[in-house]
């Protein structure tokens, strides 16, 4: 047995789940449960930050690694958890009697995600993947308007289960080809067609989580039908975990192999193009954000397929800053859809008058997604493109830059609705204090990192070193 203390961040999140569970069982009100969970989430965040530099193996050798890479992505996950929890206070898009259960599910899913980014053995990885997925499946089903919710959840579960099955099948092929499930040992095995097929299939489960084309079909429908808070969590924390495990798999288990790189390149370009073009036509904000997620998964893949330390660092940086950026956008969705309905572009009308804070949060979020300075989205894009060009992929940068411009079109149209259209009949929006704090917090993260990317970038670099160094 290794040093169990290294497991403390995950343990704190698990404890959070238990505390929230007890709180809901003893019949505390939804609000009290929420406050207790918020405190637990803050504690977990602090602990995760404290263990940022930790290194070692808490369990049996080779299955679970704590290093700079895993710890940094865990920070991303808990920050996503904390931000989402801050917003859950007025969970009006979620069924009344399910509300006390939300924190439990969020904690359990985060726990799974944190394990996911540390797992270095195929079965551990698979179990963590499922653990993180189940919490999300349930969350997606809790929409107040029952039918829409169950449709979203059904799609999510069916797609998810299918892709899990494919992943499991891929793992079995990998085992057949190499006789091991340890990622480190797989990397040592000479490449064979069977192994490549296995890795591709195993990756598909992860690509599903990340909503990379052609595994993206669930995203728009699930985003549209699931409660806002659940979608926020899916769009933030789960992306961090997915990028983490994808990077881990690619760098540990994938030997430099042209077939795989080419496949991923095609998926990367297709994701950007299809995501952006589909987003243009969307009126429902959540669907728009879903397609934009598909496009952003494409950007992140640019960094990963560069297959360098720089590329990995840029992808990690991108997904870390993506959390607060996309959170800004979803905060506006939650505030506008407080009655449980899905906000459309029309419901943004006159936002600058109805709630200046929300309008500026939306501005920061959209500029961040579009990669406009001084938001962190700009530096993220710059790093990713540099990494790609460093690997000689000039045309990929060109395609990426073209896509960034296309995406600017629909992000600007969202901003246009918020800043140009007069409010008409729509009344002012009151934010709960916690929502306002969350908005300021997320904006500060986006802008401070945009002006001063050094701390986050250096973390991402050390993460990449840990990853590439094996």
């Amino acid at each position: 047995m290794g040093n169990l203390e290294l497991f403390l961040p995950e343990a704190m999140v698990l404890l959070g789940a238990l505390v929230a569970f007890v709180a809901s069982v003893v019949g505390l009100s939804g609000r009290t449960t929420w406050i207790i969970s918020l405190v637990m989430a803050v504690l977990a965040t602090v602990v995760t930050f404290v263990y940022l530099g930790a290194q070692g193996e808490p369990f049996f050798p080779g299955i679970y690694r704590v290093d700079a890479f895993s710890q940094i992505l865990k920070v991303g996950v808990v920050v996503g958890l904390l931000l989402t929890l801050m917003m859950v206070g007025n969970t009006s898009s979620i069924r009344e009697r399910s509300r006390p259960d939300i924190p439990i599910l969020l904690f359990v899913a985060s726990f799974g995600m944190m394990m996911l980014v540390s797992a270095t053995e195929m079965l551990t990885l698979y179990v963590a993947l499922e653990l993180s997925a189940y919490g999300l499946y349930i969350l997606a089903a809790l929409h107040r308007l029952q039918r829409a919710g169950s449709e979203a959840a059904a799609k999510y579960i069916l797609y998810g289960a299918a892709s899990s099955g494919v992943t499991l099948y891929g793992i079995s092929l990998i085992f057949g080809a190499t006789g091991t499930t340890y990622l480190g040992a797989i990397a040592q095995t000479p490449s064979s067609p069977l192994l490549i097929a296995g890795i591709l299939l195993a990756l598909s489960g992860i690509l599903f989580k990340l909503a990379v084309f052609p595994f993206h079909a669930w995203a728009p429908d699930t985003y549209q039908g699931a409660p806002h808070e659940a979608v926020t969590f899916i769009a933030t924390a789960s992306k961090v975990a997915a990028v983490g495990v994808l990077a881990r798999l690619m760098f540990l288990a994938v030997p430099e192999h042209d077939t795989l790189v080419t496949t991923l390149l095609v998926l990367c370009v297709a994701s950007m193009v299809i995501g952006n073009l589909s987003a243009i036509a969307q009126d429902d904000l959540k669907r728009l954000l879903a397609y934009s997620t598909v496009a952003h998964a494409g950007y992140i893949l640019i960094g990963l397929v560069a297959f360098t330390s720089l590329g990995a660092a840029s992808a990690i940086y991108y997904v870390l800053v993506y959390v607060p950026i996309v959170f800004c956008a979803f905060l506006v969705v939650c505030a506008l859809g407080a009655d449980g309905s899905n906000p459309t572009k029309a419901s943004l009308a006159g936002l600058y008058q109805r709630s200046p804070l929300l309008a500026i949060t939306l501005l920061v979020g959209m500029f961040g997604l579009a990669g406009i300075p001084p938001t962190a989205g700009f530096t993220g894009k710059w790093f990713i493109f540099t990494a790609a060009l460093d690997s000689g992929m000039f045309w990929l940068v060109l395609v990426g830059a073209i896509n960034a411009t296309v995406s600017l079109y629909y992000y600007l149209r969202v901003i246009k609705e918020a800043y140009l259209t007069p409010p008409g009949e729509l009344g002012a929006i009151r934010l709960t204090p916690m929502m306002a704090i969350a908005a300021w917090l997320a904006m500060a993260m986006v802008l401070v990192t945009g002006f001063y990317p050094r701390p986050v970038w250096e973390l991402a670099e050390s993460a990449a070193r840990a990853l590439v160094g094996g």
């Binding site: 700009f378 830059a401 600017l408 670099e461």
Partner: protein, 489 residues
Amino acid sequence: MPGFPILTATILCPLIALLVTLLIPGRHEKAIKIANTLCALASVILAITIWAQYDRSVGGFQMMEDMAWLPSFDIRYTVGVDGAGVVLGLLTAIVFFTGVLSMWTLKTRVKEYFAFKAALVFGVFGVFFALDIFAFFFFYEIAVLPMYPLIAIWGSTRKEYSAMKLTLFLMAGSVLLFPGLIALYVQAGGETWNILELAQSPQYTRTFQIFCYPFIYIGFGVLAGMFPFHGWSPTGHVAAPTAVSMLHAGVLMKLGAFGILRIGMTCLPLGAAYWAPTFATLATAGIIYGAFVAMRQTDFKYVIGFSSVSHMGIVLLGLNIYAGGGDVAQTGLDGAIFQMFAHGIMTALFFSAVGFIYDQTHDRDIRHFGGLVSQVPIAGSMFILAAMCGMGVPGFASFWAELLVFIAAVQTYPVLGILAIVGLIFTAAYTLRVLGKAMFGPRNKNWEHLVDVGVWALLPRAILVGVLLLFGFFPNLILDMIRSTVWGP
């Protein structure tokens, strides 16, 4: 004041204006305006100080400041000015200050307006002073994006369409800049983003330069109103509110030309020389095309918009003569930078004169006016002064600028040079047509009630006229600055 980071202080002026504007509650409109005026005034004073402190006998880049921004990625915050930077810094400050003054009467959404505008100016100062490619592009994009809300919210005449068109055009330019700029870093070995260090890189082979240069030239050229990618510019100018047009045509378009000079021509001289004839031809086409189209326009602002395409063509022509090398290279560069400055001030004056009339009449159709000079003598005179400057009448700054470019052009590219001079005749034709129709001629009875420029509204315009005349009569003031400094003695 040795050691005082004067360039950073100048860049921070609009940022402070932005923060103060955000902090003041929206109902205190007067306070917001005063705060912005003070910050703009501070930037003018700082820009003049930079001018005074710059040692022309030494030349080169001065007042350098260098700070680690992101060391492990080799990104540094490096600022410094050469002659071009000093001149354009002053231009920005003047247009910022006069722009704030001429929007003193703004009533709608004052707070947001000044916030966006300050953000824009923040980016512009940064671009003119930055010597690090990342910093340069960072500021560049900050400067471009606020145009969207500024036009879309406070503009007129198909404002949403124009704003979107402008933004997408300029961002399409960025599509080329991303790979172009990053390739400079990667090709040089990935060790520095510093423009001056990159310029020394032995890795930039001729083949690479010829491949990479068009990305940078066209990418920045879009913002400089480069023909045939100028389509956003007239519509954007027409839709924008007065002070935004002033800033946009006056300063923002110079960012594009400046980017070509600072990054493209500095780092890739061989590529620039290779492409110079091609791009010089396009620039000349822009001069003639802009003047031609302006002749047929009936809207004041469209006339100025197309004349900007034409005048920016002169800047680009001068730059390409410089890039092509030869005896007159320096003359071409002098003319180009002088023209950037002169055109900036002149267009600002133009738009402010038109804006003043439009604010009262809500009409910009030239055919609806007549005898404006006798109705609103001061406003009309401002317009006439700007128009004379645009035609290149001696005594105004742009006379010298255009003269230098044309002298150089005739020697380097005789055909293009002569064509460009013919373009100038068209410029005279459209300008005189507007003047004859709207300013002189029979008075239009509809506009007898117009109020002329008051004392306060006169101040920004008087400053602009003063600057134009000052450098028109004493061109050496600015030419010394440009000449003795861009490359050092």
